[in-house]
Amino acid sequence: MIDYLREIISGTWSLFVGLGITIRYFFQPVVTVQYPYQTLPMTPCFRGHIELTKDEETGETKCIVCGMCQKACPSNCITVNGEKREGVKGKVLTEYTLDFTKCSLCGLCVESCPTAAITFSKDYNLAGVRKEAYIFDLKKRLEAKN
């Protein structure tokens, strides 16, 4: 009988304790961020889709078309093509396409690049209605940036 009453009282008390906790939070300020009105700064380490970097001196890409990134990619989403041109040492980049629909953002391509020609973008507001919008022509993007 005493156990019975004790359980009722302690049980009821535990319920009131719970109610006390939630009402305290009710009056505390909200902690959510009202995206898209507010945004948080991206960490420098954020791994977005890849993009080509600029050579500081020439303003051109540093890519030497070695194809390492293409080989390192687990999902085969990178296509690199280049051609020999006269007067230029090595190959010249003609095409750098990223199929972002397949990319898993693992970063193996960036690590494998011998000339640091690719890096992660900080782009995270990505939305679109067509699949083709996610086949990025990175060379064109780099040129558009110049």
């Binding site: 109610l19 906790i21 939630t22 939070y25 009710f26 009056f27 909200v30 902690v31 959510t32 009202q34």
Partner: protein, 330 residues
């Protein structure tokens, strides 16, 4: 043609009550979402109108414009009649609730009995809707709802009988009038009638939660177990009417608790009595109902029956006997 002005008054009241019930259902959803959000430290609805106040209107329009799907295999009659069976009795109960000294549609001598009579039809609506849906989750839910309501009607009625013994009337207006003059006259603190009156209020409140299928007793729609329980097959306004009926029932429950225990429209300190005090008390109770929902986990079905049969019923009977003994002695 002569028309009885009483009929016109009644009609006006009925329209008012339906509007009140519908508006309440809409804005209780808003309150529920807002309160839940702030308890969870979010903002909640905020896009439509200031503080998201027009959100319920938009939701209502969405529900109304949705297609009413009657799945193949359901019992079409039961399926369609069920939401109405939940909604109509809830609105009928408003007829006898006195919001203030003058603001009452029909002051019945057996007002309390009328309300409980209507309140028990609510479960029939849920049962028929669930059974008519021919859905396994819904049928399990229906079985739960019925036994839950049977179990909780007993302690609730026993508590009410205790109260009626003290007041000596079932007329809601008279019950409130007896509690006039400050919070120490309210039945919840009527310790001279029975020292267990606050406990009786708690029991009544818990039973009200269970009767209206609110968390932590929301066995009927326990979404992590039964998906949406009795409402699984309903879409659009069919679901909307169920929803309105549920919220109207909460309003009724809170109103009855206010009238029986918290002195109706009486002001706590005996000043400025009026309809606003009634609404403040009622909405505070509704706020508590929502607050409870967003704090506790759901009970199990047998936990709920254990609570009713092993705790609430013995205590409420003890209270009944104690009260009658004290009435006899003093």
């Amino acid at each position: 043609m002569h028309v009885d002005p009483e009929i016109i008054r009644l009609l006006a009241f009925l329209v008012g009550v339906i509007a009140f019930a519908a508006l309440n259902a809409a804005y209780l959803v808003w309150l529920e979402r807002k309160e839940a959000a702030h308890i969870q430290r979010r903002i909640g609805p905020k896009e439509v109108g200031p503080f998201g106040l027009f959100q319920p209107l938009v939701d209502g329009i969405k529900l109304m414009t949705k297609q009413l799907i009657v799945p193949a295999g359901v019992d079409p009659v039961l399926f369609k009649i069920a939401p109405i069976l939940v909604m109509v009795p809830a609105i009928m109960s408003f007829v006898t609730i006195p919001f203030s000294e003058t603001l009452v549609a029909r002051n019945l001598d057996l007002g309390l009995l009328v309300i409980f009579a209507f309140a028990s039809v609510n479960v029939l609506g849920l049962l028929l809707g669930a059974w008519g849906s021919r859905n396994k989750y819904a049928v399990i839910s229906a079985a739960r709802v019925v036994s839950q309501n049977v179990a909780y009607e007993i302690p609730m009625l026993v508590t009410v009988v205790t109260l009626v013994m003290i007041t000596g009337t079932m007329n809601l207006h008279n019950i409130v009038m007896q509690q006039q003059g400050g919070f120490w006259h309210w039945n919840i603190l009527n310790l001279s009638a029975s020292p267990l009156m606050p406990v009786a209020f708690l029991i009544f409140f818990v039973c009200m939660l269970a009767e209206t299928n609110r968390a932590p007793f929301d066995m009927a729609e326990a979404e992590s177990e039964l998906v949406a329980g009795a409402f699984t097959e309903y879409s659009g306004m069919g679901f909307g009417v169920f929803f309105m009926g549920e919220y109207a029932n909460i309003v009724i429950g809170a109103s009855v608790a206010t009238i029986l225990f918290l002195g109706g429209w009486d002001c706590p300190l005996g000043l400025f009595p009026g309809v606003h005090w009634f609404l403040i008390k009622m909405y505070f109770l509704i706020f508590t109902v929502i607050w409870i929902r967003w704090t506790f986990p759901r009970t199990t079905f047998y936990g709920l029956l254990n609570l009713s049969w092993k705790i609430l019923i013995p205590i409420s009977f003890f209270n009944l006997i104690l009260t009658s003994a004290m009435l006899k002695v003093f």
